[in-house]
């Protein structure tokens, strides 16, 4: 399942790239893309565990850029 989220306060392009790399390494994530310009995050992941995976995604995002919030 693929879902797209808006991101708030994503202020730095390099952080977006770092976030993307970190999210792609997460277990259960098939593909993820963070776009600094459109401030969007798209995640393709296992449907049965989607919420659980998104919690993990939010956690790694906080780690890279604490100000950035995923609107879900």
């Amino acid at each position: 399942m693929k879902k797209v989220y808006k991101l708030e306060n994503l202020d730095c392009a390099n952080c977006a790239a770092k976030m993307e790399r970190a999210i792609n390494k997460l277990d259960g994530v098939n593909a993820a893309s963070v776009s600094f310009l459109s401030q969007r995050l798209s995640v393709e992941a296992d449907e049965s565990r989607f919420e659980e995976i998104m919690d993990a995604v939010a956690k790694v995002c906080r780690k890279v850029e604490p100000d950035c919030k995923i609107l879900r």
Partner: protein, 652 residues
């Protein structure tokens, strides 16, 4: 007003802080130069006074950077921009203190440490501002999202969100309003501005029964529309979704840059450590080498590249969308620049896909009008495209009162009390022993005879689009190979190919043969070539998907085309093709400039810092100045292509 300055609250606050810090810095700096702050107090602790003043300014401008650095280290993000900047500036402060303690007669260096952070913040501010501004200007191009719909419900009209309207509901669209959902006009007639969708500046007339596309603007009078698609299936949602997600399909250039960024920072930091330690041990001139290493840290952030490359692509996609060209991802823009094999489907792409009378050849003694009049009588009941094209050319209602008889496989005979009209192919003439003048041009020929006398013939052919020749010529001129595929026979294919100027053609292909042909071409091409297939998206989806770049034309309202293609020309106009290629070329040129420029400046500053020819002031320019220049350069993608195309055409 927010609009007048374009700054939001957060940006205004930051600007105020920068201005205050800049003023304070200037005051302290000038005072230092005039009265020499290091000499205000005597003794070994003389450095404390200037240090405290500069530190105060430093904290005003940089407390947030410090705070983020500390927080990110707690999260294990060591090679973070904030941290490296703090390390560099605090390191510079420490060096200045060290020198102040060892050489109290010459106290300096605090100004520099403070200024680096100040300029860093100014640069970051510009960077944010420029990115935000360009983001806004690009999304303004795609500002086709409708805000509301006037829903007819329970005898009244209510203003609701477009999402709430269901298929089958009736909505009202007032003049000046944006059409919120796709539908069919049930009452009223008006003209529509579809510029935001297709780039076409001429208004389109619409009347009862006409299909109306969301995102266009109603210009003259009120329309009642029966909604056929819900908001999420409507054209406007599809387009917005497509353009917004285009940034997710990353190009090779973007992937290269993010990979580069991943290694760049650790390498620069690593070299900085070596630069501080190795010559430090050899020469034991620690402060010089540590200073140079700190300059390295200032240049170690790859942000200029990481922002400017995707921004260039984003601007390119935005610019294309203004001309009704939807590009589904940065990677397709990159590929389109390299595209040098253009394969066209004939029907509906190079030609209009509809039949039209190409030529009327009256026999001696008859005239054109007479030939058409008789043919129109005979064909009046037929719904075949050939009959329709004759009726369209004749332009008047055909005379009635005739008995029409279909002669299968040959044509039609029409008779009344006086005359018998025969209208059909050559076989029909031969069978009735009517001598006729055979038509030599290719196409479908209809022969007309009255009472056993040949009157004339009508040639019906698919019409070539008026711009086809110009576009194919332009592509040939760019050094591209142009190929036409068609299901028509050899003679028709050869004629059309010659007319539009394609280099090669393949005739008599069934739809599955087209896929095979394209696959063969894909196999035979060089690795650096890119094959671009252009079709109308109706029955060539497999070919569109198979080719390197699939381009569908006339996409408004056709979901299949939007799904299958990589690039959609919303307007049924081939001129979008060379235009898209020009936009792709410019985008890639700017991407290349930005990559080379940013890396070159950074490397130059690194080398100059290593040998001690520059100082931190230059280094901070290497970080943020380059980013701002690259962003401004990226915005050049978004210039006016249509005007340029016109000028180029005028010259040619």
């Amino acid at each position: 007003m927010e609009k007048s300055t374009g700054l939001n609250k957060k940006e205004k606050k930051k600007l105020a802080r920068i201005l205050i810090a800049l003023a304070l810095f200037a005051a302290v700096f000038i005072a230092d130069k005039i009265v020499y702050l290091g000499g205000v107090f005597e003794g070994p602790a003389a450095w404390v006074f200037p240090f405290c003043l500069y530190l105060a300014v430093y904290l005003i401008i940089g407390y947030d950077v410090l705070w983020r650095a500390i927080r990110n280290i707690a999260h294990g993000q060591v090679l973070d921009e904030n941290f490296l900047m703090c390390l560099a500036t605090l390191g510079a402060f420490s060096l200045a203190i060290y020198r102040g303690v060892t050489m109290p007669e010459n106290i300096e260096g605090f100004d520099e440490a403070c200024a680096v952070l100040l300029f860093y913040q100014i640069g970051e501010f510009f960077q944010d501002y420029a990115t935000g501004k360009s983001r806004k200007s690009i999304s303004a191009l795609m500002d086709i999202r409708p805000d509301y719909a006037n829903l007819k419900r329970n005898g009244g009209v209510e203003r609701v969100a477009p999402e709430e309207v269901k298929a089958g509901d009736i909505i009202l669209v007032n003049p000046g309003e944006r059409v919120p959902l796709d539908g069919i006009v049930v009452k009223g007639a008006s003209s529509l501005d579809t510029k935001a969708l297709t780039g076409e500046s001429l208004p389109r007339e619409i009347g009862t029964g006409g299909e109306i596309v969301s995102g266009s603007v109603n210009l003259t009078s009120q329309l009642e529309v029966e909604v056929t698609k819900e908001f999420y299936d409507s054209t406007v949602s599809k387009i917005l979704e497509l353009v917004e997600s285009a940034a997710e399909q990353k190009s090779k250039a973007e992937n290269f840059i993010t990979k580069f960024a991943k290694y760049y920072t650790p390498i620069v930091v690593g070299v900085a450590v070596l630069l501080a330690v190795v010559p430090g041990i050899i020469t034991s001139d620690w402060s010089t080498w540590i200073y140079r290493a700190l300059s390295f840290l200032v240049v170690s952030c790859p942000c200029a590249l990481v922002i400017s490359i995707p921004l260039s692509f984003f601007a390119g996609i935005g610019a294309a969308s203004r001309y009704g060209i939807l590009v589904k991802g940065s990677n397709y823009l990159e590929k389109l620049n390299k595209a040098n094999i253009f394969v066209f489907d004939k029907t509906g792409t190079l030609t209009r896909g509809s039949f039209a009378v190409a030529k009327v050849s009256p026999a001696a003694g008859a005239d054109e009008e007479e030939v058409l009049r008789l043919a129109a009588i005979a064909e009046q009941d037929s719904i075949h495209p050939i009959a329709k094209s004759i009726a369209a050319r004749y332009g008047k209602p055909a005379a009635g009162g005739y008995t029409l008889t279909n002669i299968a496989g040959k044509g039609i005979s029409a008779s009344d009390s006086r005359d018998t009209i025969l209208c059909g192919n050559a076989k029909l003439m031969a069978e009735n022993n009517i001598p006729y003048a055979a038509e030599r041009d290719t196409g479908t020929v209809v022969y007309v005879a009255k009472n056993g006398v040949f009157i004339g013939s009508i040639l019906i052919a698919d019409e070539v689009k008026p711009e086809a020749k110009e576009v194919v010529g332009a592509l040939n001129g760019m050094g591209c190979r142009t190929v036409m595929l068609t299901g028509d026979n050899e003679a028709i294919a050869a004629k059309i190919a010659k007319e539009v100027g394609v280099m090669e053609y393949k005739a008599s292909l069934l739809p599955q043969n087209k896929v095979e042909e394209v696959e063969t071409m894909l196999r035979e091409k060089d690795a650096k070539d890119a094959l671009c297939f252009v079709g109308d998206g109706i029955n060539d989806a497999p070919v569109l998907m198979r080719s390197d770049i699939g381009i569908a034309m006339g996409g408004v309202g056709s979901d299949a085309a939007i799904e299958a293609a990589d690039i959609v020309l919303m307007q049924d106009d081939l001129r979008g093709l060379p235009l898209a290629k020009r936009i792709a070329k410019k985008t890639m040129a700017i991407v290349f400039e930005n990559i080379v420029f940013s890396i070159a400046v950074k490397v130059a500053i690194l080398i100059l810092s290593a040998v001690g020819l520059t100082n931190m002031w230059v280094a901070v320019f290497g970080d943020v100045g380059v980013a701002v220049i690259a962003i401004l350069n990226a915005m050049r993608v978004n210039s006016k292509y249509a005007a340029k195309a016109k000028r180029a055409a005028a010259k040619a």
